[in-house]
């Protein structure tokens, strides 16, 4: 309870420190005056009395500093002072600042870009079901461009019949077609899949997209 109270008082002290500084200066000064008056009362010369009082105080500045450490949030004030100092230093040397900012920007940008790719490719699971039970079959023959050749229909039939440990086999073949419109032709990429593809992958087929291009002239304008 008392620690909580003290902590709250410190936070409050952080916001009222200017007024508190005046207050503290007055308080230390009144102490010094009273002590000086006491020495004079005991028969000292005013100068000597003041000197003695000053000596006994241990230094007003040090005392004010010690109280300030106790009052607000010195670490926050120090951090703010450090930031201000850093900003001043950066403003004084714009060339250096530009290099630092550019370095940071490139570093952060490159990291973000790489992470985006890593996340998309490696970290984020693909939307299919049961990724740990899914295997990818491919076969290849020697020769350039033949690292991933297509399966023939009988081969797929053999795999279906001969690999009972697989719950289902679906095929996918890339293909492309040409779409001929009034204003020219364009190539479209096509994925050919077997009827059980969506079932095996645990996906729901998306609703058929709107036609990419219609034959009417209005769609392109």
């Amino acid at each position: 309870m008392r620690h909580l109270r003290a902590a709250l008082a410190r936070i409050a002290g952080f916001f009222t420190r200017d007024r508190a500084d005046d207050d503290l200066r007055d308080e230390l000064q009144s102490h010094l005056d009273m002590e000086t008056a006491e020495y004079i009362r005991r028969g000292m010369q005013p100068d000597e009395a003041r000197r003695r009082a000053m000596l006994a105080s241990g230094g007003l500045t040090q005392a004010a500093e010690a109280v300030r450490d106790r009052r607000g949030l010195p670490w926050l004030e120090n951090a703010a002072a450090d930031v201000r100092y850093a900003l001043r230093a950066l403003r004084r040397s714009p060339g250096f600042t530009a290099v630092v900012v550019l370095t940071l920007a490139l570093g952060i940008g490159a990291n973000t870009a790489i992470f985006s790719v890593v996340r998309g490719v490696l970290l984020r699971p693909l939307p299919h079901r049961d990724g740990d039970r899914l295997i990818y079959l491919r076969h290849s023959v020697d020769g350039p461009g033949r690292g991933n050749i297509q399966f023939s229909v009988p081969e797929v039939g053999d795999l279906r019949a001969g690999a009972p440990s697989l719950a289902g086999i679906a095929e996918y073949s890339p293909w492309f077609g040409t779409l001929q419109g009034d204003d020219g032709a364009r190539r479209i990429d096509i994925g050919l899949v077997t009827g059980n593809f969506f079932e095996v992958m645990g996906l729901a087929p998306a609703p058929p997209p709107a036609p990419i291009a219609t034959t009417g002239p209005a769609s392109r304008r």
Binding site: R2, A6, L28, D33, M34, A56, G58, V67
Partner: protein, 114 residues
């Protein structure tokens, strides 16, 4: 001249609280004088020791401070004990007595004491 002692950590708060309990509301100078007198000048308090301690007690709610006119017409900041401060004096005094008894028993000259 008596040997000077440093104010031991944690003891100053109790000295201040007890001083305020005995003398009533008092300014920092008065507290310092009283502590020095009570200690027969074995302790001296500079401002850097006294005022942070007073502030800490104020933050903890054991004392309150307000500016007032002093007896010889100066303005001074007077500290007074709160109800929580009164309870704290009693509690800390009890603890100090217990600790002092304990240490005294250990430092007793006779072997049988241990």
């Amino acid at each position: 001249m008596a040997e000077k002692l440093d104010v031991r950590q944690g003891t100053l708060a109790l000295m201040i609280l007890r001083t305020l309990e005995v003398l009533g509301p008092l300014h920092g100078y008065g507290v310092a004088r009283r502590i020095e007198e009570t200690s027969k000048n074995r302790l001296t308090l500079n401002y850097g020791t006294l005022y942070p301690a007073l502030l800490k007690l104020e933050q903890e709610g054991f004392v309150t401070a307000e500016w007032r006119q002093s007896e010889n017409n100066r303005r001074a900041k007077y500290y007074s004990l709160t109800a929580a401060g009164r309870r704290q004096v009693a509690r800390e005094a009890r603890e100090w007595h217990r600790t002092a008894d304990l240490i005294a028993a250990f430092l007793a000259p006779r072997r049988e004491a241990l």
